[in-house]
């Protein structure tokens, strides 16, 4: 018997690889002194942890070590460890993280003992299962009623006999034995060698072996199910292959989730002749499979490479485990590496289903790399991970396969033979079995893509590389720009016939989903061409993607169509998305016919500007959002044309969220065009300003400082042409005014533009005088613009409003030295020092940092066209949750920008949908307490600077706002989050995002349709104490509401350009004016929440602390009244009067004030 074949009954001397991780290898045991400190730290921490609500909980503190500790003589262990860290790991943090992760996923010794005991029991029970008399394979009457054969027996008739005999041998194989299995879901694979007497000659033909295998399991299942030892006995598939069921056994009672034992029947060694199972051979006869006689012309039977591989896999179970145990053997680093790789694969959903890149595959890959000396046995787990990723990233197994077989036997088939039958080739040590037989080219490319991304991440030396690499899940919906579901799956059967895939069907034993997968993905990849970066698919079977089905033994196995839907993920190339043209060959070229055949009726002959006449396909797409959705058109067209899959079966999830950022009337665009129009108008205006004649100082710079000018305004402005009859006129000031008897006029927000003037010594050096001079400039600007360009202008002391082509700009003149003058303070000694004052900070923010940020984000939009959509969706959502006032516009824009500048472990989003999902993910998972969000605009911060920023952050954490966003222009203060959000509001946002993300992802992953996509945009209202309902008549942006009303009020706008001699009503938004009043008067008693985009309700939350009765203070009587409570005079809020005040202050706007809780009547 070979050494690897051992009975778990006795467990015997386990192979070297099964040795539990030696004590000597345990990092903590290695260094007693260090361990002591770790323990101490833990204890301290747990003490801290028990102090509920203490502010330091979960907060990193700057490390303080005494001088004596820092400079004591190092011990040799310490030096060793430091050296090891330096040479084997990237940093000490990474080392500690890896160690922690391994501790988390590795099986404990205690559990191992319990599992071993269970395995011994399993072995006994299996051996005790009674034999059965021999029957025909087609006669299955002997099977008891409670169990069904776990196989689709199509066609049913198979010659041959079957009887059950206890297995000749029961062997533990797989990762449990090797010590590389990872928690949770511990699986122990047990191979049952069927006795030779059961099998007959030629069992390899026509699924006869698989039928016997299934019957073997059925009988076993029936007997084991009656045993009280087992908590559950179910069937499943081996790696998702539907011809190879397996039996899952779980212990009874509290250990039920401890372990799953998987029974794999396998043939006796050397039963099948390997040469019969080469990929070029046929083992499923057409005559049998299709029920028809072979064609008379003597055409050869089609080869059945997959079928052959599945048989071969069963014969090689033990040799593989032997190989792995010799390689991994005692090399702890290799085992760690395999465990890390398994986690890596699992986070990316790559390891499950038929053709997944399983843990076994990756172990074999490690063995291969050891054999070619790319990996050495002394390497650390981290180095193994890195080497494997490096190998995956730089090689292409679809072109140059690899093999573990180094024999020069000429009878072995060549790699090239395998390349003909399989997309990906990785041969095992026998040289006959392709380990990657089921791996599709798409899956392999996905693995390659992930490996490449991970390598970039590892090389970038990012601080949180570990977190992004191994701890961040990458579900399909969040990783791919567009998702599409093909459902019902039964349509794919028709597609198989249309694509003439009968040999593949025969090979796959009728699994039309797997059979069609390869050709289908190739078709789409070809069609999407330059638009596509990567195409991934879910791996059948499984009702949810990437999950192998399990079923009760009394049920039939799930049908192919039961696995729900085939889900495809498209990762798009933004630069390919701008073109509406598919350029084909010239008309007289021979390839033209292929092109026509491929595109069908969509291909047209077109004459181009250079005179060429070419075949071409032109897609209808006017706007950016439609161009983004061209892949949808391509996919539906190609699937209908070539695969007979009608449009109704293609459920495309790409632009569903677009509706939320679409303009009021426009449904074909998500506003990028309108924003671009506004930006163009701004460009023209800035040219006018540059060339203005007659200003005492010339304009030196014009900078935008408004969300529109960085493409992040949720609803872009449209040119306004007010109807004069709708307004009151104010001819002396050339202005229109709102009329009390009409609904509120349209809301027009002027776009702020900062205008810098050239430097001059003539400016006064006094703050008040500077303001007057600036005012004079504002007046002069208005005058000149009206005189020289005929623009309607209105000047005030701080700005000049300009009406240009229906857009309104607010020009603010800035003087560079003004913030500095505001900062100057003269000490008693006459020394002038600079100190920040609120006024100087505000001015600096408005005239310096805001324009810088605006131009940086404007640049980002040019690089990533999806930025605008993502930022606007994100803002829209935050505001729809009534939290908009807590966050500055800029802070949310920066969070959105972070998704593009630091997309790891993803790639920058190319569609608003995926960007928005990642926004929710970022917001809900980011640890704001201990980390600044660094947004490295224009890549200006070096790695060292970022490290410095992080340590500076820790040292000054307490003085910083709760949410810290760092940009190259703002390295310390996080100016955009200084005034909010408060910790409570941020917490609320985190909670809401964590709730919204799974709901939205579920909707988008639901092949039957997303349902109501606006669900996550509707705010919960039951938490508020008072609701103030507003009358839509005076809500100018009523039409922007999440649930846009069918009808609203006229807002006094003309459709056509009208006269522009009067300035429209600017910035008049009654709800905002109302809120300002409420906050000023009742701000210390309550919080007010409102959605500025057409909200019809204001949520009011009483502040519990302000409702504590307190004694009378002259400085704190606002809205309170004195009551006698227990003989004492105390002050409490005068809630009845305040509620009435709400109605009084908002007369005309407020429809009703609903007090919903009685909390204030304490």
């Amino acid at each position: 018997r070979p050494a690897g074949v051992r009975r778990p009954g006795g467990m015997g001397p386990a192979p070297a690889g099964a040795q539990p991780r030696g004590d000597a290898g345990d990092p903590e045991m290695m260094e007693p002194p260090l361990e002591g400190t770790v323990k101490k730290g833990k204890k301290e921490f747990s003490k801290k942890h028990t102090v509920a609500g203490s502010p330091v909980e979960g907060l990193l503190q700057p490390v303080k070590l005494s001088r004596a500790e820092l400079y004591k003589e190092p011990t040799s262990e310490e030096l060793n460890r430091l050296r090891e860290t330096e040479s084997l790991f990237h940093s000490s943090l990474l080392r500690l993280q890896v160690e922690e992760l391994l501790k988390e996923v590795r099986l404990s010794e205690k559990k191992k003992e319990r599992i071993d005991a269970f395995l011994r029991d399993v072995n006994q029970r299996i051996m005790r299962v009674p034999s059965t008399p021999e029957t025909e394979l087609t006669d299955q009457a002997w099977l008891p009623a409670g169990v069904r054969v776990p196989l689709h027996q199509v066609p049913y008739t198979v010659k041959g006999c079957f009887r059950f005999l206890p297995p000749a041998q029961v062997t533990v194989v797989g990762s449990y034995l090797l010590g590389t299995c990872i928690r949770p879901d511990i699986n122990v694979d047990v191979a049952l060698t069927m006795p030779r007497e059961i099998l007959q000659d030629k069992d390899g033909l026509n699924q006869r072996y698989f039928r016997k295998r299934a019957l073997y399991l059925a009988h076993l299942a029936h007997h084991l199910a009656q045993d009280p030892l087992f908590g559950s006995v179910r069937f499943s598939y081996t790696n998702g292959c539907h011809l190879k069921p397996l039996l899952l056994l779980r212990p009874h009672g509290k250990d039920e989730h401890l372990v799953t034992v998987r029974l794999h029947p396998c043939p006796p060694p050397d039963f099948f002749r390997p040469c019969r199972l080469l990929p070029s051979k046929n083992n499923v006869r057409s005559a049998w499979y299709r029920g028809q006689s072979p064609p008379g012309d003597g055409s050869p039977e089609p080869p059945t490479p997959h079928y052959n591989t599945w048989v071969l896999q069963d014969t090689a179970l033990q040799s593989h485990v032997q190989l792995l145990s010799t390689v991994l053997g005692s090399a702890l680093g290799l085992k760690d590496g395999v465990a890390l790789l398994k986690v890596w694969l699992r986070q990316r959903d790559l390891d499950k289903g038929l053709g997944g890149f399983s843990g076994f595959l990756v172990s074999m890959l490690v063995a291969f790399l050891v054999s070619i000396r790319k990996i050495h046995t002394t390497m650390s787990g981290y180095q193994v991970l890195r080497s494997v990723l490096q190998f995956l990233a730089t090689t292409d197994l679809t072109v140059n396969g690899i093999s573990l077989c180094f024999s020069s036997d000429s009878s072995l088939p060549a790699l090239a033979d395998f390349h003909q039958s399989f997309p990906v080739v990785f041969l095992d040590s026998s040289g006959r079995l392709n380990l990657c037989a089921d791996v599709t080219a798409s899956t392999y490319h996905q693995v390659q893509h992930e490996a490449r991304l991970s390598m970039v991440l590892l090389d970038s030396k990012a601080d949180d590389g570990f977190q992004l690499l191994l701890m961040t899940p990458k579900p399909m919906i969040r990783a791919f720009d567009h998702i599409l579901h093909l459902c019902p799956l039964s349509r794919l059967q028709a597609a198989c016939h249309r694509l003439k895939l009968w040999p593949e069907l025969q090979d796959h034993g009728g699994d039309y989903v797997s059979a069609v997968l390869g050709p289908l993905t190739t078709l789409l990849e070809q069609g999407l061409g330059a638009r596509l970066h990567l195409l991934a698919h879910s791996r059948p079977p499984g009702s949810e993607p990437f999950c192998i089905p399990q079923w009760d033994i009394s049920q039939d196995p799930p049908k192919h169509r039961d696995s729900g839907a085939l889900t495809l993920g498209l990762l798009l190339r933004p630069e390919g998305l701008t073109s509406v043209l598919e350029l084909g060959p010239e008309a007289d070229q021979p390839e033209a016919a292929d092109f026509r055949q491929f595109w069908g009726s969509r291909s047209e002959l077109r004459r181009f500007q250079d005179g060429a006449i070419r075949e071409a396909v032109v897609w209808e797409a006017g706007s950016m959002s439609q161009k983004r959705l061209i892949p949808h058109q391509v996919v539906t067209h190609l699937l209908a044309l070539h695969a007979d899959i009608p449009e109704t079966c293609v459920h495309y999830m790409g632009g569903l969220l677009d509706a939320l950022i679409q303009g009021l009337k426009e449904t074909s665009s998500t506003g990028e065009e309108a924003l671009a129009a506004a930006v163009r108008c701004y460009d023209e205006l800035s040219r006018l300003l540059w060339g203005l004649d007659g200003l005492p100082l010339t304009v030196s710079a014009v900078q935008g400082a408004h969300p529109v000018l960085r493409y992040t305004e949720v609803f872009p402005p449209t040119p306004v042409w007010p109807a004069y009859s709708f307004h009151k006129h104010f001819p002396e000031r050339a202005s229109l005014l709102p009329r009390p008897d009409k609904p509120c006029p349209a809301y027009v927000e002027p776009m702020t533009v900062v205008c810098h003037l050239e430097g001059s010594g003539q400016w006064p050096q006094d703050a008040e005088a500077i303001r007057r001079v600036r005012a004079a400039f504002q007046l002069r600007l208005a005058e000149l613009l009206t005189q020289q360009h005929g623009l309607q202008c209105r000047a005030t002391a701080t700005h000049t409003d300009v009406l240009k082509d229906g857009f309104v700009f607010r020009i603010r003149v800035a003087y560079q030295r003004e913030p500095q003058i505001l900062k100057e303070m003269r000490s008693p000694e006459g020394m002038i020092s600079l100190r920040d004052t609120p006024a100087s900070l505000r001015l600096e923010k408005d005239t310096k940092q805001l324009p810088l940020l605006t131009s940086a984000l404007h640049g980002l939009q040019q690089q990533h066209p999806a930025f605008s959509g993502v930022a606007r969706l994100a803002k829209r959502w935050v505001r729809a949750q009534l939290l908009g006032e807590g966050f500055t516009d800029e802070s949310l824009d920066l969070v959105a920008a972070a998704l593009f500048l630091h997309p790891e472990p993803f790639t920058p989003p190319s569609s608003p949908q995926v960007g928005f999902l990642r926004f929710l993910f970022l917001v809900s998972t980011f640890d704001w307490k201990n980390n600044p969000l660094i947004v490295n605009l224009n890549n200006e911060l070096t790695v060292e600077e970022q490290v410095e920023i992080r340590s500076g952050f820790l040292a000054t954490r307490k003085q910083l706002p709760v949410m810290v966003i760092i940009t190259p222009q703002d390295r310390k203060n996080s100016i955009w989050t200084q005034d909010g959000p408060s910790p409570q509001i941020l917490q609320q946002l985190v909670v809401l995002a964590a709730e919204a993300l799974p709901i939205l992802e579920k909707q988008l992953m639901d092949p039957s349709g997303p349902g109501d996509i606006r669900t996550v945009f509707r705010p919960p209202l039951d938490m508020y104490d008072v609701l103030i309902r507003l009358s839509p008549r005076h809500v100018p942006r009523h039409r922007q509401a999440v649930d846009s009303p069918a009808a609203s009020f006229c807002r006094g706008l003309l459709r056509e350009p009208g006269p522009s001699s009067l300035m429209p009503v600017l910035g008049y938004d009654p709800p905002q004016l109302y809120l300002a009043q409420l906050r000023e008067a009742y701000g210390d008693l309550a919080l007010f929440f409102y959605d500025q985009h057409g909200g019809e309700v204001i949520g009011v939350l009483w502040k519990p602390t302000s409702f504590q009765p307190h004694s009378f203070k002259a400085s704190n009587t606002k809205g309170r009244m004195v009551v006698s409570q227990g003989g004492e005079m105390v002050m409490v809020p005068n809630v009845e009067a305040i509620l009435e005040d709400f109605a009084v202050l908002g007369e005309g706007l407020v429809r009703a004030v609903e007090a919903r809780s009685e909390r204030w009547t304490v």
């Binding site: 833990k42 921490f45 979960g58 990193l60 503190q61 490390v63 070590l65 400079y71 190092p74 430091l82 000490s92 943090l93 500690l96 993280q97 922690e100 501790k103 699992r346 986070q347 899940p473 002396e732 000031r733 202005s735 709102p738 009390p740 006094d766 008040e768 001079v773 005012a775 004079a776 007046l779 000047a795 005030t796 006459g830 002038i832 600079l834 005076h1034 008049y1068 009654p1070 300002a1076 009043q1077 000023e1080 008067a1081 002259a1114 400085s1115 009587t1117 809205g1119 309170r1120 009244m1121 004195v1122 005079m1129 005068n1134 009845e1136 009067a1137 009435e1140 005040d1141 009084v1144 202050l1145 007369e1147 005309g1148 407020v1150």
Partner: protein, 280 residues
């Protein structure tokens, strides 16, 4: 008579509306329609001995908790039955001195949004104060004869007021700048006059306008000088020259590593506590 009335008011307050000691509470409502009311807490304006106050003693009424819709004119109207009112001043918080008399420019100091305020009401006679303290109310801010705008009407009139006359602004700016220029010219002339002229002890004042430029007396400039000195010194120093310097550099490196290690360990502890190592 007055004393009796005051006593009754005090008793009323005790029995009816509770009020803090020393104050009397007067209910105030926006109009007839409201059922609940706010309470003005009033007392005579007094200051502790020694504290200065620009408000006239005896004649000034101090009012707390004035609701946001109640303007100065309103308050004057509501209190005029108690006696002729000389002035009403509304403020965010109690302040002892009167605000400067010169009116703030409406161009450069836009009116803030009002909240709850305190008021100093100066009557022409001390009698007004005691009469006000005895008021029973409820006072009505908006009545048919004197309606007060609120809500949409108020916002529209505020918007109308915010559209200002640029000509007036120009005139104001011009007058301010003329005055400013005059002031600057005077200062300059004075400085010129004094330049180079020693004072009685013989000191000569050096100014920016002198013939030779001098270092400006700012903090930034002095810091710059210090920095330059430091750099100069650092350049002269030799590094890793002596053996002890070597040793120290090495030790410093080790200390850095140790510190980093401690930091990392703390980070790990935190992550472990947050269950950050559960991969899925």
């Amino acid at each position: 008579m007055v004393a009796r009335r005051r006593k009754r008011a005090a008793r009323d307050a005790e029995e009816g509306i509770p009020s803090p000691p020393g104050y009397s509470a007067v209910p105030i409502k926006f109009s007839e329609e409201q059922t609940a009311s706010h309470y003005l807490y009033m007392r005579e304006h007094r200051v502790r001995d020694g504290a200065k106050s620009s408000w006239p003693q005896k004649r000034t009424l101090f009012v707390l908790n004035v609701p946001p819709y109640c303007t100065e004119e309103c308050l004057a109207r509501l209190l005029s039955p108690c006696g002729p009112v000389q002035s009403v001043e509304l403020q965010g918080k109690p302040e002892l001195t009167e605000s400067p008399k010169e009116p703030k420019s409406k161009f450069f100091h836009p009116k803030p949004v009002p909240g709850f305020q305190v008021a100093y009401v100066v009557f022409q006679k001390p009698k007004g104060v005691s009469a006000a303290l005895a008021l029973k109310g409820p006072l009505l801010v908006s009545t048919e004869s004197h309606p007060v705008k609120s809500g949409v009407h108020k916002w529209i009139s505020d918007y109308t007021d915010s559209v200002l006359d640029p000509e007036a602004l120009r005139v104001e700016v011009d007058t301010f700048m003329e005055a400013y220029d005059r002031k600057m010219a005077e200062e300059e002339a004075k400085a010129k006059e004094e330049e180079g002229v020693p004072d009685e002890e013989g000191w000569v004042k050096v100014t920016r306008r002198g013939r030779r430029p001098v270092l400006p007396r700012t903090e930034a400039a002095s810091l710059r000088v210090l920095e330059r000195e430091k750099r100069k010194r650092a350049r002269k120093e030799l590094l890793n020259f002596y053996a002890w310097q070597h040793r120290e550099t090495k030790m410093e490196h080790l200390a850095q590593l140790r510190k980093k290690f401690e930091e990392d360990k703390q980070r790990i502890e935190l992550m472990r506590a947050q269950r950050k190592f559960r991969p899925y």
